[in-house]
Symmetry: C2
Subunit: 329 residues, 2 copies
């Protein structure tokens, strides 16, 4: 059987481009003893992948990344044919695994695709980044950048559930409108046309307690200036800097704001929240069912469009979670 | 009786200069009911004062700041004539107070001047910044900038007492030599002539766990790059940026290092460590007596030289704590 997969061919120096990737068709054999064969239904397209491409990931091998599929052959007693699973085996149509790092999911609890988004890595990133790293306390004023993205949109809604005033930024007027009209943000602005500091001052005259950092640049500077004492800045990402190449964007000129205001900046990745995973699934599935958390998806069809989807992440093409769908359900 | 005092006349825009200050001679009356008259012996000269001058402190009034003096008249039952006290009543020869914020010190435990340095604010800043804000664990590798200063020199020695490998930077070869020969630093370098990242790599091939930040600029960038996972950066000061004026120095271009390494940056001021004060005095007086902590002082004579001393802070004129002495003992 033939499986298409996408390889990393060269490391991007600025914006990732089609030339950095190759499509490879590979003959997939039968799974061996203890192994399973997974047919992927969805592949995950995430900003963090840009950083990993620059350094960590091997060239001329399949792109690492999250995916969701169905077990179609099983020689492993822990998996049944028909099980739906998530895994990190990357951008390919079929994958063989011994089961390590492969996790069954419950398709009754939420739609399949949600397990790569709101019920998966981005959802747990938002949940842990706000509640654990951000040491969020109910009612605090929260600002989140890239607020229409897979992580940012969930951060804002979790804070709203707990009684916060929430401010979000996004890169188009349509997204700004969606944040206010659909996701219940108290204030939202277009960071490409508005002055972030002026927006924060207008939306939160008494200052902000948490800035959930996805973007970097002028928004981080504005957040530092307008932050209240003992404020926290969980650093989830800085997408504005990922494609800098040789000339890196300077950091905030006002880090001294941290001193008298006792501000904490703290970087994190989702692996920090293993202990919160079970509670997260319980909470999030309840919030989705009650309608307290809504989520958007931007879905590209077919593995041939995966690179286009990835490029789109850096051009604001996604509204919520970016996915590639491989199999029609 | 005439008391000389120094007023803040205008806010410095770059390096502070003599023109920003005025010497005023004021007739000091007798202390009223419940009040005491203090004759100052030492005035404290500290980098943090630069930031407060820019914004917070009133013009045409006495410069706020730490001082140490002797009670010469007392109408307050809590103070006896002859008591030595520290207070924050600023740069003047005599001060009248109702006793609020005035604290007796024990001249038997350490020399008088030490209570403005190693036994006072800078000492507690070092102690709390490393142990509390920095969440220091014995044996961790510590890098401290401005390591020959009043705070940095104590940070390094506290870490040495607890078994750390300690790296310090300073602004002259003489200071670098002093750090190694006199204070026991494992490695030290001149940040004006050496490349901080190369120095860190040489001195700590496995990375650093804590960077105690006093300076900002390229040293912060180097520390982020060479920091180990879960490293911490207590931000005590950024003296390299204090005199920036209108064009602020850009921040570190590599804040994304925080993400995968789960690095924390945390600003603080000494007021955070009220709860540690008693333990600090016990520990520090013991370390001074045992010789485990040494301290340097740079002392200018007479209130007429206070502004020169302050200017000198930004020119590297001090070795350890900068003081002005008003009374010969």
């Amino acid at each position: 059987m033939i499986s298409k997969e996408i390889h990393l061919k060269s490391r991007p120096t600025g914006l990732p481009a089609a030339a950095n990737f190759t499509m490879v068709e590979r003959e997939i054999g039968e799974p061996g003893a203890g192994e399973i064969l997974i047919q992927n239904h969805y592949m995950s397209v995430d900003p963090y992948m840009r950083g990993r491409m620059a350094m960590a990931w091997p060239l001329d091998e399949v792109m690492i990344g999250g995916a969701l599929g169905k077990v179609v052959t099983s020689n492993n007693p822990n998996f049944q044919v028909g099980d739906y699973v998530t895994h990190g085996l990357g951008w390919r149509e079929y994958a063989i695994s011994n089961g390590e790092g492969v996790n069954q999911i419950d398709p009754e609890l939420a739609p399949l695709s949600a397990y790569l988004g709101v019920m998966g890595m981005p959802g747990l990133t938002a949940y842990g980044g706000l509640l654990v790293t951000g040491e969020y306390k109910p009612g605090e004023t929260v600002f989140v950048s890239a607020a229409s993205g897979a992580v940012g949109s969930i951060v804002g809604q979790i804070a709203k559930i707990h009684g916060s005033s929430v401010i979000g930024s996004a890169g188009s007027d349509d997204k700004v409108e969606m944040l206010k009209a659909s996701l219940g943000f108290d204030h939202a602005f277009n960071y490409k046309t508005a002055d972030p500091l002026a927006e924060l001052r207008k939306a939160a005259p008494k200052g902000i307690d948490i800035y959930f950092e996805n973007v970097g640049g002028p928004q981080l500077e504005a957040a530092l200036t307008h932050m209240r004492p003992y404020g926290r800045i969980p650093i989830c990402g800085m997408i504005s800097t990922y494609n800098d190449g040789a000339t890196a964007t300077p950091g905030p000129r006002n880090l001294t704001e941290t001193i008298y205001k006792h501000i904490t900046l703290k970087g994190f990745v989702v692996s920090a929240f293993v202990d919160q995973q079970a509670q997260f699934l319980t909470d999030m599935s309840r919030w989705i069912k009650s309608g307290e958390v809504k989520y958007n998806e931007t879905i590209f069809d077919g593995i041939d469009n995966a690179v286009t989807a990835f490029e789109g992440l850096f051009q604001g093409a996604n509204n919520g979670k970016m996915l590639v769908k491989l199999v029609s359900e």
